[in-house]
Amino acid sequence: MTRWLQHPPPRGVLLALLAAGLAACFAIEQFGLVDDYVRFVLITFGINIILCVSLNLVNGWMGEFSVGHAGFMALGAYLSACVSVKWLSWGDPLWMFPLAVIGGGLMAGAVGFLLGLLSFKTRGDYLAIITLAFLMIVKSGIENIPYVGGPRGFLGIDNHTTLLWTAVWTVLTLWTIRNLVYSRFGRGIVAVREDEIAANAMGVDTRKAKLTAFVVSSFFGGVAGALFAHQLQFINPSVFDIVKSTEILVMVYLGGVGSLAGSILGATAFTFLSQALQPLGTWRMVILPLILVLLMIFRPRGIMGMREFSWFVPQREFPKKEDKK
């Protein structure tokens, strides 16, 4: 993967920015610095980043085409809602909510494991169809479970998704996925995309690579779903349909495949454009897809496709100064 900048800016600046950002999130929550609308958009922004970067692992780095990400969101959303409303509702949100989010992630990750098993035999278009079927199964499955409200939806979820929690989960997602991508597992995942036969012959256990990608991707899809449920306070199976998946796909292919910077860029562009285009009403649904069409024609890998902002690249990846003149 090529890098956007060859020399990394100092790490300290990144850490300082990060700390300032988290402090700002804390301050906003504590002192109510912004109105509810802005807060809602900012939380959506964070959730979108998590969704985008986690789907990018499968669709970008691994080069498969999954349209089932909204299904993992649904699993995370419903399980976390069960935890916080039905099972552990007596708990202090300080520990209960993280538990609910992790539970949602684990639920989605476990199902992602099954989808990963299916990907051993199937690739490309056929795997895309399987993920579509998976999405439909999840949606109609939830519709038929009265315990979680069936088609009427799940009501009475408390608003636990604060800006700070969203920021913490966003940073955690980006950090862990970055670490994975720049490890032997991440390179294995990329090798599967590049040439599966050669990857196998070079000792990459491609099955394990696929499972890792699917499990990690769906785990964070579930985390995003959990945050989403506790942001909206009401979830309903029809929210998690192919349109939701398509939105995440737009973010991934807009920002750039196989790139953390691209994922953030895609989520940023999508979140704020769809808010900015609100006054256009229905025309919004024309403009966003149109942007996607133009991108696919002129920049099929997205704005930052396969390139990375050097701040997101681990220090060890850069050649030491004395090595190369």
């Binding site: 670490n179 991440g186 990459v204 990846e317």
Partner: protein, 258 residues
């Protein structure tokens, strides 16, 4: 000496097509062993069976005395058999460095949850891998191209990189599928020199498929000749050259078949 690789009565059928029929041969450690034969003789199929891409219909492949038949290609690669491909299969969109590093990763031992939370052991292993790859690329004369996209390298360098990538697995047996394909005679001479260096420097046993007779005859200690998925001759270069069946397979019989 005990053979490093033993191919025992391997038959490979694809539906009605018999690509390999009762193929047997041994590879002695330290040797450069050539496989030659006309197009469609089953040479590449034999490679694909040895490296686990195909599971043979019948027969057994033993590596260091242990059966590797039916093992996954990645397992076989970990056991110490590395290969290159007839039509170069590099990870074209990745850098030269990452191409080699993916193979080098076979020797790193850390778990994916460990990698995700950056355990010190995972970071240390990563640094060691980087060091090993840098050294290896330096040895193969690719030290100045490490950040280039592999697909952008000139053809000769791509071949060299593919061999470097295979050697990053630290194999004891290296399978080369037509390393001289697409090279002119000067480049082929360079290749012979390079293969000799490879054998001496890494003391690796080689099994190679090649159409370039001069290369095979001068470089290989032992040669197996295949035709229609069967061994028709085996021996040293001189023995093979004089074998009437080999001459027939290559040049045809005067009065034609049957």
């Amino acid at each position: 000496m005990k053979p490093l690789l033993e191919v025992r009565g391997v038959t490979m059928r694809f539906g009605g097509l018999v690509a390999l029929s009762d193929l047997s041969f041994d590879v002695t450690p330290g040797h450069a062993h050539g496989i030659i034969g006309p197009n469609g003789a089953g040479k590449t199929t034999a490679f694909n069976v040895i490296t686990g891409i195909y599971a043979p219909t019948q027969g057994d492949v033993l590596f260091r005395g242990e059966s590797v038949t039916g093992c996954r290609p990645s397992t076989i690669a970990h056991r110490g058999i590395a290969r290159t491909f007839q039509n170069i299969r590099l990870f074209r969109d990745l850098t030269v460095f990452d191409n080699v590093r993916i193979a080098c990763d076979a020797h790193a031992r850390y778990s994916w949850p460990g990698a995700m939370i950056q355990l010190p052991s995972a970071r240390q292993a990563e640094k060691e891998t980087i060091g090993r790859c840098t050294d290896l690329l330096e040895k193969f004369g690719l030290g100045n191209e490490i950040h280039e996209r592999a697909g952008d390298l000139p053809y000769g360098s791509q071949r060299r990189l593919e061999i470097a990538r295979a050697m990053a697995l630290q194999p004891s047996l290296l399978l080369l599928d037509e390393p001289a394909a697409g090279m002119n005679s000067a480049e082929t001479l360079n290749l012979v020199e390079f293969l000799g260096w490879l054998r001496d420097h890494f003391s690796v046993t080689m099994l190679l498929i090649e159409h370039h007779m001069q290369l095979v005859m001068t470089f290989c200690d032992r040669i197996t000749v295949l035709d229609f998925g069967k061994t028709i001759a085996e021996g040293t270069a001189d023995e093979v050259r004089k074998n009437p069946e080999v001459i027939e397979a290559y040049l045809g019989q005067e009065d034609g078949h049957e």
